[in-house]
């Protein structure tokens, strides 16, 4: 669980959508001539002062009718983590001495981060109360976005889309790490007209077929067990296969690199642990040091996890930047594996 607090150096990105008008309809003569004190701008100032929040945009909904849609699109595309809505009677209620109320829409696709997001908003409220000498009566009303419907098992779904990418990638790695290092007749096969590239390609094809079966079983068993899928089954299947295919590439790379089975197994554990740790599943990539972020974005799970999470929780398309990243990583791994395999010494 990641708690974003004042001590956290990574602020939670947000937008403010304000429905609070600075005009007030006079109940006696139905004119708009009475102006009340406006607390919208002081709250925006409080957000700016808060170290826990980073204000990406401010929308005045009375002037921009599509403000909320724009903000939701930003949330959907992961540009922000929370939408803070200032209700229409925000300033009025505060003036009349009523408790203040703010509405938040956090990105609940990352369920483990919701509390951290709300904590960050709360800090801005605290600053606002102190700066404006208000009675500390404030209500934060949270609406979860992209959350799991109540009829689905919350715990299963919370962990499924975290475990699915790890499982797929792990299966593909385990399938392929010993493919080259274990197969002794490869040396003899090289004394036939067959080319090294053909051998490597045959491994890719064979193990891709096995992966296809594994992914089919994973998808069937996940959906059968009650996985809530906002996206399409095709997208989920393709995403898992793409991630698994990158895993195959990684496995074949380890297999080409290793001289013995023991070495391959050791490399597998070393790589797998690093890939999981830097995947962003357990530690947000944004909170890592810059150099680790660069490494993290080069690793397959860092793209596979958000891609699958997006399909499962938000119904995003597979053809996002993550898909092309995985495709690129696969191509690079194939080329590196081929070059290593080409130089690998075989003696019969």
């Amino acid at each position: 669980m990641s708690n974003v607090s004042s001590s956290n150096p990574i602020p939670t990105s947000c937008v403010i959508v304000s429905y609070d008008s600075n005009t007030f309809l006079n109940q006696n003569n139905f004119t708009q001539d009475i102006e009340l004190d406006n607390y919208t701008i002081p709250y925006v100032d409080a957000v700016n002062m808060s170290e826990s929040l980073e204000l990406v945009n401010f929308f005045n909904a009375t002037e921009e009718p599509y403000a909320m849609e724009t903000a939701r699109t930003m949330l959907f595309n992961k540009r922000i983590k929370v939408i803070i809505m200032i209700p229409v009677d925000f300033s009025e209620l505060l003036i009349w001495g009523y408790p203040g109320m703010l509405q938040c829409v956090p990105d609940a696709a990352e369920i483990q981060n919701i509390q951290g997001i709300l904590n960050a908003v709360q800090e801005s409220v605290n600053i606002f109360i102190v700066a404006n000498n208000l009675t500390p009566q404030f209500l934060l009303e949270g609406f979860e976005e992209f959350a799991i419907p109540p009829e689905y098992n919350f715990q299963f779904n919370t962990y499924s889309f975290m475990i699915l990418p790890i499982m797929t990638f792990g299966i593909a790695l385990v399938l392929s790490i010993l493919v080259i290092v274990k197969e002794k007749p490869i040396a003899r096969l090289l004394l036939t007209p067959v080319q090294r590239a053909e051998i490597l390609l045959s491994k890719y094809i064979t193990y891709s077929i096995i992966l296809l079966i594994q992914v089919t079983l994973l998808v069937i068993s996940s959906l059968g067990s009650g996985l809530y899928l906002a996206g399409t089954i095709g997208d989920l299947f393709l995403a898992l296969f793409m991630l698994g295919f990158t895993g195959l590439g990684f496995g074949l790379f380890i297999s080409s690199l290793s001289k013995t089975k023991t070495e391959a197994n050791q490399l597998f554990f070393a790589f797998f642990i690093v890939i999981i740790l830097l995947s962003g599943i357990f530690i947000p990539i944004e909170s890592m040091p810059f150099y680790l972020q660069i490494i993290a974005y080069m690793l397959p799970l860092s793209h596979g996890d958000p891609m699958i999470m997006g399909i499962v929780t938000k119904g995003t398309s597979i053809f996002s930047e993550h898909f092309y990243w995985l495709l690129g990583i696969s191509v690079v791994l194939f080329i590196i594996s081929f070059l290593i395999f080409l130089r690998r010494k075989y003696e019969v």
């Binding site: 007749p185 040396a187 096969l189 007209p193």
Partner: protein, 342 residues
């Protein structure tokens, strides 16, 4: 060694192989005709495998010089590699390098024949023919290879080496790891295959018994080819055409051997047992009686005597000993001169 060009399967002229400063093969030349069985003999590090690795396109051209052709194609050109490998077979020393143990013999055959572009039907029929020649029991053909006996695996490995009907088959230590009684079986199967299929065979081996089936034998030592000819010709190149006197001498010791060696007509004395020596004489018929008279006069008691033709094993031993003696003499000479050998 004159051979018609069309009849030549393997031609090696002035082959030198070096890795960096280390020269592995020194000026090796030989010609092998179609259908011959050639034995490459030598102790470990003699260069047998290196020569075969050149012939099977495993060593890059930058490491070797000389004119080498296999089935009239030179391994010096990369474009020839696929053609050469299509026309050669290889049976490695360890069956695990040639067989997928989890698959049946017939599926193993399918795997390897697919690399030669053979269709399944033809591959199966050739496999069955080879399995029959090699007496592989029918009930093993579809079972997992790991369940076969060591001898059966060895024969299956030989069948896979020949599955695409190559002109040349290379066999690395085919009798190593096989018990004594089966060694002759393996050699006899090889001869049988050679006679039926007319495949040229190269046998890399330490096992000097393999010379029994060889048409030509090559003896290598430290990368140099000491001899290349038929075993009969090599044996007959020894003094007295390879006739040896085998004497059982009472209380045989090094002094007695030195005394025998001191006779000018004695060409070589080999101790082959506790009390047995084999002696090569300059002129066997006349020198044998002279030797016996000398031994009698010297008080050396000979318990028994027989005459025989030297075996290839004995020729090999003599040839290697000669080389070692020459080398030692050279070292001694240079040490006496006070300079390091060049």
């Amino acid at each position: 060694m004159e051979a018609e060009v069309n009849d030549v399967t393997v031609n090696v002229e002035g082959l030198d192989v070096a890795f960096g400063d280390k020269k592995i093969i020194h000026d090796v030349s030989f010609v092998v005709k179609r259908g011959e069985i050639v034995g490459l003999f030598g102790i470990s590090g003699a260069g047998k495998t290196t020569i075969v690795r050149v012939l099977t396109c495993q060593i890059d051209k930058k490491h070797w010089t000389g004119n080498v052709t296999v089935s009239n194609l030179t391994p010096a050109k990369k474009k020839n590699h696929a053609k050469i490998l299509s026309d050669t077979g290889y049976v490695p020393q360890l069956e695990e390098l040639n067989l997928y143990y989890e698959l049946s013999p017939l599926v193993n055959v399918e795997v390897f024949t697919s690399t030669y572009g053979m269709n399944k039907k033809k591959a199966k029929s050739v496999a069955k023919e080879l399995f029959s020649i090699l007496d592989l029991p029918d009930d093993t053909w579809k079972k997992k290879t790991k369940k076969m006996s060591g001898g059966e695996k060895k024969r299956l490995s030989m069948a896979i080496g020949l599955i695409h009907n190559p002109s040349v088959l290379f066999l690395d230590e085919p009798t190593t790891g096989v018990d004594a009684s089966k060694r002759y079986d393996i050699l006899s199967y090889l001869k049988k295959l050679n006679q039926k299929l007319h495949t040229t065979m190269f046998i890399i081996t330490h096992d000097l018994e393999a010379a029994l089936i060889c048409d030509k034998t090559a003896i290598l030592r430290e990368g140099k080819l000491l001899a290349f000819d038929s075993p009969r010709n090599l044996i007959e190149s020894l003094p007295s055409k390879g006739k040896i006197a085998r004497l059982a001498i009472e209380a045989l010791n090094q002094d007695i051997i030195d005394v025998i060696k001191s006779q000018p007509y004695v060409k070589r004395v080999l101790r082959v047992g506790n009390e047995v020596v084999e002696i090569l004489l300059e002129d066997f018929e006349s020198d044998l009686s002279r030797l016996l008279q000398f031994l009698f006069a010297s008080g050396i008691r000979v318990n028994s005597m027989s005459r025989d033709q030297a075996s290839f094993r004995r020729y090999f031993q003599i040839r290697i000993n000669e080389e070692e003696e020459k080398e030692q003499a050279y070292i001694n000479l240079t040490n006496e001169d006070g300079g390091a050998p060049e």
